[in-house]
């Protein structure tokens, strides 16, 4: 297990280097001249030149990458061209908000998909099973940005139960109850697609496990339904479940970006969107690299957990 952990972790290093290079290159390829945007069209040639030097835009590309990488590894992601603040500071603040949204969405995916897939598999081919399967199929076909808007129309405009925006910084005042109220709609929006996929896959896995010989043996010994499900089926389904949940991290990030934009959630996805629109290169780099880093680490953890479960299954 230790060997696998080290090997798998070492594998992530060149990938992250490649990611950092692509992210770095993006600054060159983002359209529009940053200096002109910062200084305005009437800026003098001199002020543009000095700003380019200040931002390090005059060095050759590989030199710039090396400087950028060294600084990035030291935690210095540069400063925002537009906001004139440290990128890392902004990214760190926003990341916390995003982590709260991601955690609650992943939590919803895990709890709801386990419940739905178990009911569905246990009552296989019943009306309930078909209903759940159909609902999950439809859920998987919904664009997150549309679902978010529909939820706002129904639960914020027509029935004003939940707020549609106005999430404050989590560290501010407002209390847990208020945070939870703000979390409900963005969490559902972020979780929807993943919930549908995880439920479908887990249902198939449970159905397969339940049809196997040792389950038939357990049934013939007169074990209760819950005992069969928990003691026998789940143990075998768990690696599949963790694996498919791990694969959802990417989807969750994608949906979370739209969810944050629609509900004005002050997270890293909303920041990315604003930075892209403002053509704020360093800010775009900072947000993208943090999201990619968390994504790679998330996948690594999921792989390790699956491996651990496989090793300790018997």
């Amino acid at each position: 297990m230790l060997k696998f952990t080290l090997w798998r972790t070492a594998q992530a290093v060149p990938v992250l280097l490649g990611v950092s290079f692509i992210v770095f290159l993006s600054l060159y390829l983002l359209p529009g001249d940053v200096t002109q945007q910062l200084l305005g069209l009437a800026a003098s040639a001199e002020s543009i030149k000095s700003l380019r030097e200040e931002l390090g835009l005059d060095e050759p590309i590989l030199v710039q990458y090396w400087i950028w990488l060294k600084r990035a590894l030291a935690g210095n992601l540069g400063s925002s061209h537009v906001m004139r603040t440290e990128v890392l500071q902004v990214v760190a603040n926003k990341s916390l908000n995003s982590l709260v949204l991601m955690a609650s969405s992943l939590g919803l995916v895990i709890v709801a998909s386990l419940a739905l897939s178990t009911i569905s598999a246990w009552k296989k081919d019943s009306a309930l099973d078909r209903g759940i399967s159909a609902a999950m199929f439809l859920l998987a076909s919904m664009p997150a940005f549309w679902l978010g808007l529909v939820l706002i129309v129904f639960f914020a405009v027509k029935l004003p139960i939940f707020p549609s925006a106005g999430m404050y910084p989590i560290t501010g005042s407002g209390g847990l109850a208020d945070l939870l109220r703000h979390l409900v709609l963005p969490t559902i929006t972020t979780a929807a697609t993943s919930l549908a996929i995880v439920t479908r896959v887990t249902r198939s896995a449970i159905v397969e496990a339940l049809s196997s010989l040792y389950i038939s043996a357990a049934r013939s010994r007169g074990l209760s339904a819950t005992s069969i499900l928990y003691k026998h089926a789940f143990r075998n389904v768990l690696p599949t479940f963790v694996n498919i949940c791990g694969l959802q991290i990417g989807y969750l990030f994608g949906s979370a970006i739209f969810s944050e934009i629609i509900f004005a959630w002050p997270g890293i996805g909303f920041q990315l969107y604003n930075s892209v629109i403002a053509r704020d290169g360093p800010m775009v780099q900072g947000t993208v690299i943090v999201i990619a880093l968390v994504f790679v680490i998330g996948n690594l953890l999921a792989d390790l957990i699956v491996r651990w479960l496989d090793v300790h299954r018997t």
Binding site: P14, V15, L16, G18, V19, I22, V23, S26, L29, L30, P31, F137, L138, A140, S141, M142, P143, A144, F145, W146, L149, V150, I152, V153, V157, I197, R200, V201, S204, I244, L247, Q248, I249, G250, Y251, F253, G254, S255, I257, F258, I261, I262, L272, Y273, V276, I277, V284, V288, I291, A292, F295, V296
Partner: protein, 300 residues
Amino acid sequence: MAASHESMMVPAVTETAARSSALFRIARTLARNNWTLGGIAIVSLFLICALFAPWIAPYDPNASFIELRLRGIMTPGHWLGVDTQGRDVLSRVIYGARVSLTTGVVPVAISALLALPLGLLAAYFEKTGAFIMRIMDILFAFPMVLLAILLGAMLGPGLTNLIAALVIVLLPFNTRVVYTEALVQKHAGYVEAAIALGTPAHRILYREILPHVVSSSIVYSLTIVGTIIITAAGLSFLGLGIQPPTPDWGLMTSEGRAVLALAPHVATVPGFAIFALVTGFNLLGDGLRDALDPKSMVHG
């Protein structure tokens, strides 16, 4: 001359016959599945809208009836309402099918074509393969939407750039499908026999491995079209794809956000069109996958 020509034709004909009977079997399996037929019906409906938009749509998609601005669903003459600039939503939804079908199908087709040589070479030549697949690993390290946003921002807006961004986003997925299938074929007995006989690599790749790989690539492509339609509409929603005044469902959803409380139909109707078309493609893709391989499952 005629005789030799004829004798050469014989194996080709039997091969075609075998393939068409396989296709027929798949088609029959698909036709027996009501859900798949539903998918075909939905996709066909939108395809007809896209092809015959000028004849089907009641108005020009950019014609403005400014005095009817923001009128809701069931307004006489404008059954799906009127948008922020007084344009008929139904007409724009019908024309919007053109963009959505294009951005769903074209990038998938192009990247599947590009992935064929990449995946085949990667599977057949180990060192090249290691290099190609490491680059794909790097692209895999970005969540799909994030990479699409980054590329969209880099390339700039517009239909061509949107398609280019989606091709790159899809490339690692398509390449992995081809690579995995080609690896399996490479170690199959008939290919190992061909290698032992000294058949040149290009011949083995083209004659033996390619035909097997193409079918998995096509099936995979059909299952991913829905996701790509959503991603493309998402980029346009963010202002990184199709630009106004082109009638595009993602863009229309975005334009309707500002009046969501006042006139919810402006944003939700085009969004529903995306949902419906994606449902159609997903039904179709699921049906095809089940017809070809009943044991397969969905994976992220």
